[in-house]
């Protein structure tokens, strides 16, 4: 990358990305940067545009607003097509092909094809190579689709709810395979999911999208370290005034107790207990509070984007 301001190469950059249909916005004002080599969780409520974002990156959809680049290239280019693999939610495969024929198709279509990696993934699940896709279970089909995506040896892997139809054992095993492959090859992974607990320890990068654009983006360590979970006794209605000079993400009260997730703007002093939130607590707080001020850490900002806002200035 020519810009010295950025640490490392960008796998994906979105600039004011939007998708508008007649019925309304499917994705709106989405700007963020995903550095190469990260494993990124894409989180948001239903209808926030996660699938739309992944489909634009995979060049299945053209955005109506803004733009997106993959390793500095447009999604439709030969170069980014070669370096990117997309695993769509419905796992489209030719139903009348056998597993072996499906992998053969992958080999024919992709110059950098890795037959062994693909076969290993299929074999690990004991999926017979001569079985027709139409006869496979949902989990087996997912496995073949994952094998097809990995066989391509992509630099960027786009996964839309990859584990949704898998049982817990297979889910754990596929996640292990995914992380092992990614660790060996330095693959960047962008993965949407609803299962927040699944992201903990798996992702080192997070992007949260909802109605108004990107709400939270950055390295997990950075995001965690700037948030504090405060628990204490209520003073009258609502929060203690002394917490007022911190940035409030979410607060809840139950009985005499309050719990607040804040971004401290200085030392947090008071008769309260403070704790680091876990990833699920952090994500839930942002998902529950659409009005909380967004946070895009410097690594996750694209050029011209101001700290802590979701808008593109230029």
């Amino acid at each position: 990358m020519s810009d010295v301001m950025y640490a490392g190469e960008s796998a994906l950059e979105a600039y004011g990305l939007g998708m508008r249909y007649r019925r309304g916005w499917a994705l709106r004002d989405c700007s963020f940067r995903l550095p190469a080599g990260r494993i990124c969780g894409l989180v948001g409520p239903n209808g926030a545009g996660k699938t739309t974002l992944l489909s634009i990156a995979a060049h299945v959809l053209e955005p109506t607003h803004g733009s997106l680049s993959l390793f500095g290239e447009a999604p439709g280019s030969v170069e980014s097509g070669r370096r990117t693999a997309f695993l769509a939610q419905e796992k489209p495969l030719f139903r009348r092909f056998t597993v072996a024929e499906t992998l053969r198709l992958g080999r024919e279509l992709n110059p950098g094809w890795d037959q062994r990696a693909a076969e290993d993934i299929v074999r690990a699940g004991n999926v017979p190579f001569d079985a027709k896709i139409s006869t496979l279970s949902g989990g087996q089909r997912t496995r073949v689709a994952v094998a097809l995506a990995f066989g391509k040896r992509p630099d960027l892997l786009l996964l839309d709810e990859p584990m949704s139809d898998l049982d817990p054992v297979v889910r754990h095993e596929m996640m292990g395979t995914l992380l092992a492959e990614a660790s060996e090859r330095g693959t960047t992974v962008l993965m949407s999911t609803h299962v927040l607990a699944e992201l903990e320890n798996v992702c080192d990068y997070l992007v949260v999208v909802s109605g108004g654009g990107v709400r939270l983006a950055g390295d997990v360590d950075d995001l965690m370290s700037v948030h504090t979970l405060v628990t204490g006794a209520r003073e009258g209605e609502g929060l203690p005034a002394a917490l007022g000079h911190h940035t409030l993400v979410e607060s809840r009260t139950s009985g005499r107790q309050f719990t607040a997730l804040i971004r401290p703007e200085g030392p947090v002093t008071g008769p309260w207990e403070t704790d680091t939130p876990n990833m699920e607590e952090l994500l839930l707080a942002y998902l529950r509070s659409p009005d909380a001020p967004p946070l895009i850490t410097p690594t996750a900002q694209v050029q011209g984007q101001a700290f802590g806002t979701g808008t593109v200035a230029a």
């Binding site: 640490a7 490392g8 550095p35 190469a36 080599g37 990260r38 494993i39 630099d155 754990h172 996640m175 292990g176 395979t177 992380l179 092992a180 990614a182 660790s183 060996e184 090859r185 330095g186 693959t187 607990a197 903990e200 320890n201 798996v202 992702c203 080192d204 390295d219 360590d221 950075d222 965690m224 370290s225 704790d275 680091t276 876990n278 690594t299």
Partner: protein, 149 residues
């Protein structure tokens, strides 16, 4: 040969990299790991425990800083020295005294949680001054070195 398998508790609130550090030290203390052993690679940990490889590498860097392990390029991360001492083995007199004390506590009707609280409290009192915190490193973000692109 994989010598240890990390058990990552996702609900404990302890960051995964610290759990790896702690479990490695525990293995060193108990003699499960001895000098010359190779720690599992980030890929192996990822596969078995579904932990982000950067997390494992961060833990190994921490262990390296403490002089317990050393990376050998192209081969992996190896144990340099052990934490085991005669006093920490289960055949040491200190352990015997502790077992006797536990029996006394149980005899006095204490529950497991009461004992844990007492031990933690006494430990805090004794060791509070010299704690070496290995907590939340901020700033430096971890990245895998992506292999030849």
């Amino acid at each position: 040969m994989v010598t240890v398998e990390y058990r990552i508790d996702r609900r404990s609130g302890v960051p995964a990299f610290q759990q790896i550090v702690q479990q490695t030290k525990q293995a060193l203390r108990l003699g499960v790991l001895v000098p010359g052993d190779r720690l599992p690679t980030a890929k192996e940990v990822a596969e078995v425990s579904t932990v982000n490889p950067n997390t494992t590498l961060k833990a190994y860097r921490e262990l390296e800083r403490e002089g317990l392990v050393e990376p050998r390029p192209g081969q992996g991360t190896f144990v340099r020295r052990t934490l085991g001492r005669p006093e920490t083995g289960t055949d040491s007199p200190l352990y015997g005294e502790l077992v006797a004390w536990m029996a006394k506590a149980a005899g006095a009707g204490l529950e497991q949680d009461d004992v844990t609280a007492l031990v933690a409290s006494a430990m805090d009192k004794q060791y509070a001054a010299g704690t070496t915190a290995a907590t939340g490193s901020t700033g430096a973000t971890t990245t895998r070195s992506s292999t030849g692109e």
